[in-house]
Amino acid sequence: MTRARTLPALAMLALLVAFVAPPTGRAATGATSQTLQVFAAASLADAFNDLGRMLEQRHPGLVVRFNYTGSQQLAAQLEQGAVADLYASADDRWMSYAKDRGLVAGDPWLFARNRLVVIVPKTNPARIQKVQDIAKGGIKIVLGADAVPVGRYSRMVIRNLSRSEGFPSDFATRTLANVVSEEENVKSVVSKVQLGEADAGIVYHSDVTPAVARYIRVFEVPDSVNVIASYPMALVRGGTAPEAAKAFMELVLSAEGQRVLERHGLMPVAASNP
């Protein structure tokens, strides 16, 4: 092989090796920089973003990264081997699921509650004046899919309403017949109602942020028939920043953290083990 051909050939080999060699993995834990990976239900986005920033300010060099989507998807991702330090779910079901599969370390902590509300676009194309109206024929309702916590809760609320006073017995059947889409996370439900594509949707109270409130009208559901969602969080096994994760949990459970949650529409809890 001539000299002229050696160099380009070696260069090609070098390129091949670079692509084949396994990636060096996460940045090593050290004093200089650390990443905290938090998996959290979509409804926690605004509140957790604030809390994450607060933690970063108090721990220079710490970077907090969030993965927001439906709790069910987060559980599935963890099961498939995704690496995270903290898992905050919107219901007990998916936390238990994760716990049963040995994905979490230690016990989960209850850190927030949320209640459901009915929302309609501000333009209110279906002319909904009260919650009973969502059973009207031909309107378009968007709910979370059954696997999504908010979806499960929504259906529970609908059934509860059906059994309560002031609501016809076929309320549940008629309402569920109006469902035109089952979204994979609660934010999609909010978007579609906000855009006016759906006539009504059921979301968390915390989803009605100031930005969203401009485009929607909210119908409260009485506590007696409402579902109060409990949000548990737990350390994830195999994470790379367990200390930072604990710090975050402490912040969330502190009075200060609870105020942040409240500011974003969530309901606080008394700081104690479930």
Partner: protein
Amino acid sequence: MPGPATRCPPTPSLARIGTLVAGALLLGFLALPFVALLLRVTPGELLSRLRGPVVLDALRLSFVTSLAATAIVVVLGVPMAYLLATRDFPGKRLVEVLIDLPMVLPPTVAGFALLMAFGRAGLAGRALEAFGISLPFTTTGVVVAQVFMAVPFMIGPARAGFTNLDPRLLDAAATLRARESFTFFHVALPLALPAILAGIAMSGARALGEFGATITFAGNLPGSTQTMPLAVYVAFESDLDAAVALSVLLLVMAFGLLLGLRAAPVGSFWGQHRARAQGR
């Protein structure tokens, strides 16, 4: 002088080895996910899943919508490809960019844009509502999303097919009293058919696999908008085995589509003409 020359096999150069290794790596990288998927489910399991209503619904929806979408893409796309291949006009560049846009846009963004345009409160959607036509949350909406995303995959190959037409044949047709439309149907189309079939395969496969724009624009409801890709996504969270089964099904469908159209006998027919033209 040395003795009679013996033919030694040429020692492979480093470049050649490098290329082979790169090729093997790439193929391995592409094949492994498919193989892993196939190994997770047995044919028996697959068949039993097929009988479930969710799978049947998704299968039917995928089949119907991608067929309709592909048909629309052909009818709208082939003439456009012909125009692009044979004409120059002001704004042609812009048209080309517009057509390629769905290919580079993240599907969810595309779905969102579709909502802005054709949603109930959308630019054109408002007018459609007046006629009683509503696209989001409907099967028609699924077709719309698929058409939007699949168009560039048809126009690319079809345009290349028309561009490769021998202009002398088109000239000859003109001198034989053929107006442009006659020439299109009797000369251009038959000769560009292999390329158009390739376009059908690509756009069909794209429509079949469409997810982001569909779930954003048309929504997700079993029986009316939950196509196979959406069903896989949903199953992934609740029933992993069902997800695997559905994925394998989708894989087999796409595989069949691409293989079938590539093996079409049409290609070999013109192949003879091409071979001779090159040999001349």
